[in-house]
């Protein structure tokens, strides 16, 4: 090399996501602002796509009349029951598949084959079995929650480092203690990740099930307002669903923070 000195250029920029706390607020504000301006200048039809302000007023009216609480309570009850039943069954099945070779060999192909079926397609069958009332809706949600929970739990148990299990065995720990003190906490991150998916599926299914046969519930409300061309109220229902999704996501994030502090 010659004696000429050149500085070495930095080449490792980018590909390094850094948090920008203000970005999401600006993005939301921009979308809402654009929407409102588009409505004000007449680019969007007030009948087909009411402005954010109109949707907000519809939401407030709904809340003041007490209907919002009743719709939300009905939906939450269905989600709660369906999610709890589906989660309990999914965890039991997933743990069995993760822990026992026979259960895995027999169960995994069955779960893999049934998982892709859109569960809402089974609602008519459940209505025949359980009637048009609550049990058919709860069963649809429970079935929708069961499969992702079982798959997540099985994979989570599978991913518990085997050296930790061998360590427990090396110390003479009985099998139930190994499951309770090593497998279960080790599988918790995977199980909680599965909860996120199953909670989203429960929210989707409750809306779909309520659209097929319910008087109260957010899904029923959205369907009814659509039939009546009350688009401001329809969008208010969609906003409520979005807020429900955010609340569930927030609750799961809180749970993860509380239970997985060690990560």
């Amino acid at each position: 090399m010659s004696d000429t000195r050149t500085s070495i250029p930095f080449r490792a920029g980018g590909f390094d996501p850094t948090p920008r706390r203000w970005a999401p607020w600006i993005a939301f504000a921009a979308i809402l602002g654009l929407w409102q301006v588009s409505s004000n200048v007449g680019w969007l039809s007030a009948a087909m796509m009411p402005s954010p302000g109109t949707v907000l007023r519809a939401l407030l009216r709904l809340a003041e009349g007490g209907d919002l609480a009743r719709h939300v309570t009905s939906s939450l009850q269905r989600i709660g029951l369906g999610w709890v039943f589906g989660t309990i069954a999914g965890l039991a099945f997933g743990f069995a598949m993760g822990l026992f070779s026979l259960a895995r060999a027999a169960g995994l192909p069955v779960v893999s084959a049934l998982f892709p079926i859109p569960k809402i397609a089974l609602l008519p069958l459940f209505i025949l079995w359980f009637g048009i009332g609550e049990p058919s809706k709860v069963a649809t949600i429970a079935l929708g929650v069961f499969f992702p929970t079982a798959i997540a739990a099985s994979a989570a148990v599978d991913n518990v480092p085997r050296n930790l299990i061998r360590m427990g065995q090396g110390f003479g720990m009985p099998a139930h203690a190994i499951i309770a003190k090593i497998v279960l906490p080790g599988a918790l991150p995977g199980i909680l990740a599965g909860f996120r998916i199953s909670a989203s599926i429960a929210l989707i299914l409750v809306v779909a099930a309520e659209m097929i046969g319910a008087e109260w519930g957010i899904g029923a409300f959205i369907l009814m307002t659509g039939n009546l061309m009350q688009t401001d109220q329809l969008l208010a229902g969609v906003v409520v669903l979005s807020l429900l999704g955010l609340a569930v996501g927030g609750a799961l994030s809180f749970l993860e923070k509380a239970l997985l502090r060690w990560r």
Partner: protein, 257 residues
């Protein structure tokens, strides 16, 4: 506790890893096991501690375990095998929780091993907060808390940097001076074997057979002294001479697989 290995052989499917192994390990002795990669060192530890089923040959133990022994054959793992969701104390306590002990006795044992391994100040720390050396100290403390008759150590220092390794070797020497536990110590590191062991067993390449058994006559406490450096270096040369061909053949074998 004495260990007697007779005609021990093991295979994983068609792959024979150990063959015709005869070995006696005396109570209180530290036996280092060295050999090329894949020669069955870790398999031997698994067989000794009951984590791998003995299929051919036999392993027997004689003599009484030490007073208060809760788990006669106890492992110290290469990758520490600590539960990341438990504190230092919680990880050590794990080894005691399934034994019917009074809480006072549990606490006494935990306090004793924390002091012995220099971890008393870190009892509430999580593994992620500790350095590699400190994590392995937790692994050692967890092993000692059950007062083992035989300590089975599977390359316990290989995941650590050279300085930390030297510090832990000093700690192990101090611990063994007090505890007199029979130890089988698997390592790749010849210097480590010479520094820590009473005898070194050299295994051949796969399937592992006992190629040589070399006693280290220099007292363990004196091995750091300069006047023994020549003798220990000669021993290390002898170990390497015994291993070199095997290691080269094993390396080629692995490359061909």
């Amino acid at each position: 506790m004495n260990l007697h290995v007779r005609g021990l052989a093991h295979a994983f499917g068609p792959l024979a890893v150990l063959e015709g192994l005869d070995l006696d390990i005396a109570s209180g002795e530290t036996l280092a096991v060295i050999g090329p990669s894949g020669c069955g060192k870790s398999t031997l530890l698994g067989l000794l501690g009951g984590l791998i089923r003995v299929e051919k040959g036999g392993i027997t133990a004689s003599g009484a375990p030490p007073a208060g022994c809760l788990n006669p054959f106890t492992y110290v793992f290469q990758d520490f095998a600590l539960l990341p969701w438990r504190s230092v104390e919680g990880n050590i306590r794990l080894a005691l929780e399934h034994h019917a002990l009074a809480e006072e006795e549990r606490r006494r044992r935990i306090d004793a091993v924390l002091a012995l391994t220099g971890l008393s100040e870190f009892r509430a720390a999580l593994p992620k907060q500790l350095s590699g050396g400190m994590r392995q100290r937790v692994g050692i403390a967890r092993a000692l808390v059950v007062r083992p008759a035989v300590l089975l150590m599977d390359e316990p220092l290989s995941a650590l940097d050279a300085q930390t390794r030297d510090l832990l070797i000093e700690d192990l020497l101090a611990i063994w001076a007090r505890e007199q536990t029979t130890t089988v110590y698997v390592t790749h590191n010849l210097a480590e074997a010479i520094r820590l062991a009473d005898r070194v067993a050299i295994l051949s390449r796969r399937p592992g057979r006992l190629r040589d058994l070399i006693a280290i006559d220099v007292p363990r406490a004196d091995r750091g002294q300069a006047r023994h450096a020549g003798a220990l270096a000669a021993l290390q040369d002898r170990l390497w001479a015994a291993m070199r061909g095997e290691a080269r053949d094993a390396d080629r074998e692995v490359a061909l697989v």
